[in-house]
């Protein structure tokens, strides 16, 4: 069943929680198992945290937009902010020995670990992250 909805939200932790809950509901309704619901929910939370914290820096004048879509074959979640813009090629590898004990820098890595596709788009200003989980391939995976 195809469905789509979106929210425009303040740059706050409440918004992060709202986006996380929406992602969990979308994943639950799509019939995924508990592990994949967790993966999607966590990846979307991390993307929302990035938008609110690193993108908009809690600026009350800036909004985040979260859209959720079940195409029937994939779940597509887009999270955008109005910040300075994120260049993913500049992010340090959190698995490198010199970064392993860093207190931050694992969010994008976890998003990439848990989703089938992750795309970055610069918005001028801001960044849009597109997170995709393919439903069919996931159902067949062990």
């Amino acid at each position: 069943m195809v469905s789509r909805f979106s929210y425009t939200l303040d740059s706050s932790l409440d918004s992060v929680n709202k986006v996380e809950e929406a992602a969990e509901q979308l994943a639950q309704k799509s019939g995924l198992d508990e592990d994949r619901i967790f993966q999607i929910t966590m990846a979307v939370r991390e993307a929302a945290v990035n938008a609110v914290l690193h993108g908009n820096a809690y600026d009350p004048q800036k909004k985040i937009v979260a859209s959720f879509e079940n195409t029937g074959s994939s779940l597509i979640i887009r999270i955008s902010d109005q910040g300075k813009g994120l260049d993913p090629t500049t992010l340090p590898d959190p698995l490198a020995p010199e970064n392993l004990l860093n207190g931050s820098g694992r969010g994008i890595f976890l998003i990439r670990s848990f989703m089938d596709e992750v795309h970055f788009k610069l918005l001028h200003p801001g960044t849009e992250l597109t997170l995709i989980k393919h439903l069919d391939s996931n159902q067949n995976r062990a």
Binding site: F38, M42, R45, V49, G105, F109
Partner: protein, 116 residues
């Protein structure tokens, strides 16, 4: 949504029993404050019981790492006890499973601290 922390002492080791979520904001800050408070009181052998932690995000993972390094830099030890499957998997994905000393048995964990 928040996290609860209770504190007990066993044979010179402080056990923090955590329950709930360790996430950006409340959970991470509570953990940071609890560890700092213990260190300020001279308690530097700390066992974090994560048996009832059902969710942790990248901020929470970062807080565990920061707590580990902070305690170690002060000559103490911080170990983890009873990971849930989700937390276990996250520490494996992030290659932190081998960084932390992780135990399943509380008595064994207590005995493993090298108190000076």
């Amino acid at each position: 949504m928040s996290m609860k922390i209770s504190n007990r002492q066993v044979d010179g080791v402080t056990i923090l029993d955590l329950s709930g979520r360790i996430t950006l904001g409340e959970g991470s800050v509570q953990l940071r404050d609890a560890v700092r408070d213990l260190l300020s009181k001279g308690s530097k052998y700390i066992l974090l019981n994560l048996a009832d932690v059902n969710y942790i995000d990248s901020s929470g993972i970062g807080e565990l790492v920061s707590a580990f390094t902070t305690v170690r830099n002060q000559g103490g030890e911080l170990k983890l006890l009873k990971l849930t499957k989700k937390v276990h998997d996250l520490l494996q994905i992030t290659k932190l499973y081998t960084v932390f000393d992780i135990k399943d048995d509380e008595a064994e964990a207590i005995g493993s601290f090298t108190r000076s």
